[in-house]
């Protein structure tokens, strides 16, 4: 694979983006001294093209495009091992959250669509039903991702064990959840929240 040379200048280092990440995550990016302990313990490390420490390194250099273009942030399992063991109190799991949020806002910046799709459906479910209904989630995911037969073998078994419920009722106070969603949308529109 050919790698693009990184041109570093005040113009190419996007400090504003990094500040946004720091504001969202409540943790410092500069503080990381690249010891690599996060990458050492990351259960998803082998799946990522940029190991966790390099994600932070690229941020330190203001090269967020390189981060968002890859799948690494979507392959983070949010297990918090990195944050727990970081000798420097860099809360990497929160940085990952912030990056995903910013990537999500920039729609389609990343190649990883399955995880994004699953997340989107999950949140839609909350907005529509108030709670998660796994059967619906799985079915819609399979349809939307074009993997009609995925986990097909598990279905009947789960069904027999009473683990999948076909019928589900909405919460009585659904209007309240809708309000939370709309209020957050409004706050963002007005620029009151990131």
């Amino acid at each position: 694979m050919k790698k693009k040379k990184m041109i570093i200048s005040q113009e190419t280092m996007d400090v504003d983006f990094v500040r946004k990440v720091e504001a969202l995550s409540g943790t410092s990016v500069r503080r990381c001294f690249q010891c690599g302990k996060c990458s050492a313990g990351c259960p998803m490390g082998t799946f990522m093209e940029h190991p966790p420490n390099r994600v932070v390194r690229l941020l330190q250099l203001g090269q967020w495009q390189r981060v968002l273009a890859g799948r690494s942030i979507w392959y983070c399992a949010s297990c918090e091992t990195c944050s727990t063991r970081c000798p420097n109190k860099v809360h990497l799991a929160s940085i990952m959250d912030a990056l995903r949020k910013l990537s999500w806002d920039a729609e389609g910046a990343s190649k990883e669509s399955y995880v994004q799709l699953a997340n989107k459906l999950f949140l839609q479910n909350i907005r529509t039903y108030g709670r998660q209904y796994e059967m619906r989630l799985a079915a819609v995911f399979n349809v939307k991702s074009g993997q009609f037969l995925k986990d097909l073998m598990l279905g009947p078994k789960l069904f027999a064990k009473g683990k999948l419920k076909v019928f589900h009722s909405k919460n009585k106070n659904m209007s309240e959840i809708e309000k939370i969603f709309t209020r957050i949308e409004e706050m963002r529109k007005k620029g009151e929240a990131l």
């Binding site: 999500w104 949140l123 929240a193």
Partner: protein, 295 residues
């Protein structure tokens, strides 16, 4: 007339317990009844947003949890939480909002209500080990799980992040071991008790889950465990539901029943299989329990 309860809690089961983890819900209610602990389900609770919400939208995640904390505040007692993910999210919300004024104001605006952060959020393990106490728990045991070698699986979210859940020591917790040893079981030391099972990817990237979960099952088997005990429906989903599939992929045989902690403790207090939802387990526990003369 039943005796009055010795403790009262509000109860947040979480989505999974109303669906794929019905047996966790059932066994929790039955066990707590036996122990004289009252559980009142928070009316009209919402999904806490779990990992997907904070993954892409922290404000939404915080708001959903804050809303649930507000709902829970209307019910007497500390909040009992069964699912490790819900537990972690609710605790994290309390922690983050107590620390950040900015986020606090945003969330208050989103839920249009003053924040209720003072209430205590407790995982079932804490209630059993600390509030009830191991001595009282042991006293309620009339069918000790003698000879049963249990691998206690913590997963990621019970103890992490540091200073947030405060359930036990972050890197070397013993709370699960203490609880199940009080029920008469033997625990095995093993290496993967806190490795991630990849729960977040169970839908989107099952391949990842299979690889990670295999390492956990392998480690538990190598340590000589008869079964695994969990306190999280998501971990359970991967370890139990996908076990057969994993055995096929890696051409191994684990046959490790995966119990919820309330199922095993319930068994020790003499509750029958029907009250514990043992039939809902995908990896059949009956042969093991029969062998150990626990059924």
């Amino acid at each position: 007339m039943s005796k009055p309860n010795i403790m009262e809690y509000s109860y947040y089961p979480g989505c999974s317990l109303h669906a794929s983890a019905g047996e966790y819900d059932l066994s929790t209610r039955e066990l707590f009844k036996v122990l004289g602990i009252g559980l009142t389900e928070v009316p009209d609770w919402f999904c806490c947003g779990a990992t997907p919400a904070h993954n892409v939208d922290e404000l939404l995640s915080l708001s959903l949890c804050a809303k649930n904390l507000e709902l829970a505040d209307k019910v007497e007692g500390d909040l009992a939480v069964a699912c490790a993910a819900c537990f972690s999210r609710l605790k994290t919300t309390q922690h983050v909002l107590a620390e950040s004024d900015v986020k606090r104001k945003q969330v208050e605006k989103a839920i249009d209500a003053p924040l209720k952060l003072e209430g205590k959020v407790k995982h079932l393990l804490e209630i059993l080990a600390t509030d009830l106490g191991l001595e009282r728990l042991a006293a309620a045991v009339n069918k000790p799980l003698s000879g049963l070698k249990v691998a206690c699986y913590y997963g990621c979210l019970l103890t992490r992040p540091t200073d947030v859940t405060n359930l036990d020591c972050v890197e070397a917790p013993t709370i699960m071991e203490r609880v199940i040893e009080a029920a008469g079981a033997t625990t095995v030391p093993w290496s993967h008790r806190m490795e991630c099972c990849g729960a977040n990817f169970t839908l989107s990237r099952p391949g990842v889950v299979i690889q990670l979960t295999n390492a956990i099952l392998d480690s538990a088997k190598a340590a000589g465990a008869d079964c695994i005990m969990v306190g999280c429906p998501l971990c359970h989903g991967n370890l139990d539901i996908r076990q057969k599939e994993i055995e096929g992929v890696y051409n191994v045989e684990y046959a490790l029943p995966v119990f919820y902690l309330t199922q095993l403790v319930g068994l020790a207090t003499g509750l029958g299989p029907d009250k514990l939802g043992l039939d809902a387990m995908i990896v059949n526990p009956t042969p093991l329990l029969k062998e150990k003369q626990l059924l």
